[in-house]
Symmetry: C2
Subunit: 449 residues, 2 copies
């Protein structure tokens, strides 16, 4: 059978270890090496425990951003550089792996024609893959470079060339990879009303969170009507979530003295609402105090964190396309329609199976993780729930519960971050290898992992 | 087309109003009449507001059991009798409606052969339906009568004949209909270690919560191998949930002084664990203080409340069979199997669509309800979440948040109770009418609404 042969060949390429296992091992290796490096006295301004070093390393490699210590004051320049490299490895590794798996499976990706790795796996030569990886890295570095220049415009005048450029580089990498690590106490709260920071940082993490396939597709097609179904869904879904988050956040928090209420003017309030609407899409920076949000806003933020960003991106969560299919399938069911149509393309029934499997596993994971963490921690349940959701979606927003957890709880958070990062990709691999590459009728292909 | 004609005829039977709308109107009418009756001075020992009366009426008709006042001390005997009648109407109305819809759709129900309403709708004469309704009522009254006798054994010696029998009748009706209203302060906490109460009350609500189809099937077949797939799944699923709930509750709460810790002996602790493991299946009585449970136990209880009991029963929630199909479909997906098999029968792919639609709508409802309630209430989020889940599943367990809500919040809880009761039946109606009655291959039929 085609499918079996295809899988067999893929295994062969990876020395007979299934790709998800390779990915998990690579991530685990990075976490351990990173943890040991961060534990070195040269990495820190005041010595931290090996456990803390491993926690920060896990958070960086999984591009989450949760932390038990203040990054800027705890680590030396060397330590910060280690964190930046771990973020870059984690974020790019992720994107590369996802794109490689999809292309190896024969699923077309939005790339210049000569580079598309077609259905026949014999074309997936090492040479092609090398080119693909080089392009991904180039795009990422280009985005980050532009980000550094834009941010330097703010931080060089404020901190001088050396520190200003370093801050710009660190936060550009942290933003594009949706890591959410910041070198300032209180994340980016100091820049709550700064237009440049409020545009550049979100632009980087939204771009990184759309996914390489969408960015490549836009770059290649440049016309809405010619975009793939996946790109259209991602763009519309992302825009809808951002508008909803922005309006709701502003409406709920406008007069809350802990968040928007005490900000100096309307412009600053609007910037802050914008930032808080986009950051739950697994970026994880914040410009207001997350712990001061109303319960209702916190719940909305948690829902946005669960959804996350796009497939083959640096973002986490169940993914925007998964949410869209979930809603479309439910709507179709109540309209008594047996097929799903969107933007003039049909979606296969099998997509529904995928969506259900992915959503069920995710919800079970979050519920189980929350249950396990709550066993050792009777405290503010909302904060704990927020923290577990943040870890699962590799978001990094925090209401302070992580700092209060004991070693058992922190270990669980580490495991949830790891599964939250590697898990959906593993599921995505299953989803990709499950489809027979040659479709028999013109169905739109979207990615759900 | 068969389906269209079938629906057309059903509408005709209900004077062209779709059955779910009839049900909703009947429930709304009962709520209003019940509320006005409870508002009468003769119903109460101390006058209550019309809003409170409507809240209690909604809670009774939807067999939820949430309350803002203590039932036993607030209402007169007449008021208590009104509540009992509302519970009976709500519970039996529900069961009857569900069974009528399913049988009208030609879905075989577990009944003596001569009564099965076959696929041809022409056989669904008014006479047949009357017989069916009479049987349902007889079974319910028989179960309740046995319950009254058993409970009288405890309460007549304690309270004398008049009050003892009244307590027995009220609690038997409240238990069989999964209403959870009790006349004692602290629900059934006084009887935490009483074997009779701990066996009779749960027996009534488990029986009522299995659903008429399962009870009828067991009564008719009396052999495991001959039971329908639906009955087997319901019995296995129910047993698994009870065992899981019992073991987890005991393990988590054994030394908690607020719940099991201060109980006099091991037997009492085990009885209390048993009771708290079965009551979240939408019964709503409690023998320990729900508000004193650990966060972890509270989360587990919420998950059990979301699942609820069986279709065509007096229980609420997304239903046990829905959970089972959700898990089986996910497992099948990861085994790369395209069909679902369980107990030697196959499940159609369409069931997966049903399960996904039902689960998605339910989760959205709970999230939206919680979001709406939390807008006007910044407090203990866990308690609020518990209350909304309890209202959605028409469970009635409470950690005290309902009593603290303002009129806006209480109105939302009333709406959630109403939708939680009428909604799944409406969805169940869609699910039933959606299937073509004549199946083309031997597939197991299960009910998901
Ligand atoms: K992040
Ligand atoms: K109840």
């Amino acid at each position: 059978m085609d499918l079996k042969r295809a899988r067999g060949r893929l295994h062969l390429q990876s020395l007979r270890i299934p790709p998800p296992a390779v990915l998990a091992l690579l991530y685990l290796g990075s976490v351990i090496v990173g943890g040991l490096l961060l534990w070195l006295p040269v990495s820190t301004q005041e010595q931290i425990s090996l456990f803390t070093a491993l926690f920060i390393s896990t958070s960086a490699v999984t591009v989450t951003g949760l932390s038990t210590v203040d990054i800027g004051t705890t680590f030396s320049l060397f330590g910060e550089a280690v964190i930046m490299v771990l973020i870059q490895l984690g974020g790019l590794g992720l994107m590369t792996f996802a794109v490689l798996v999809l292309s190896a499976m024969g699923i077309p990706i939005g790339m210049p024609q000569r580079l598309i790795l077609r259905e026949d796996l014999n074309q997936t030569t090492l040479n092609n893959l090398t080119v693909l990886v080089r392009i991904i890295f180039s795009v990422a570095l280009l985005c980050e470079a532009v980000g550094v220049l834009a941010l330097a415009w703010v931080w060089v005048p404020q901190f001088g060339w050396a520190q200003g450029l370093w801050y710009s580089a660190f936060h550009a990498v942290s933003a594009f990879n949706n890591a959410g690590f910041a070198l300032f106490p209180g994340s980016l709260s100091l820049y709550v009303g700064d237009p440049v920071v409020n545009i550049v940082i979100p632009a980087l993490f939204i771009l990184g969170g759309l996914g390489f396939i969408v960015v490549g597709d836009i770059y290649q097609k440049r016309k809405w009507s010619r975009l793939t179904l996946h790109s259209k869904l991602m763009l519309v879904g992302t825009a809808a979530l951002i508008v909803w988050g922005f309006v709701t956040f502003a409406a709920l928090e406008w007069n809350n003295p802990g968040t928007l209420g005490d900000l100096p003017d309307t412009a600053t309030k609007l910037w802050a609402s914008w930032f808080q609407a986009v950051t739950p899409r697994t970026a994880g920076f914040n410009t207001i105090n997350t712990a001061e949000m109303h319960d209702s806003t916190t719940l909305m933020t948690m829902l946005l964190m669960l959804v996350g960003g796009g497939s083959t991106s640096t973002a986490g969560g169940i993914k925007v396309t998964t949410l869209i299919v979930l809603i479309l399938a439910t709507a179709a069911f109540f309209r008594r329609s047996t097929t799903l149509h969107v933007f003039g393309r049909s979606l296969k029934m099998e997509e529904i199976m995928k969506v259900m499997a992915l959503t069920t596993v995710s919800m079970l994971l979050v519920a189980l993780g929350l249950f396990a963490v709550s066993i050792s921690h009777d405290g503010n349940f909302l904060d704990l729930m927020f923290e577990v959701t943040s870890a699962f979606g590799t978001v990094g927003l925090s209401r302070g519960a992580t700092a209060q957890l004991d070693t058992f709880g922190l270990t669980l958070i580490m495991i949830i971050m790891f599964i939250g990062r590697v898990g959906p990709l593993t599921i995505g691999f299953f989803l990709a290898t499950r489809s027979v590459p040659r479709v028999r009728y013109p169905a739109g292909q979207i990615y759900l992992g």
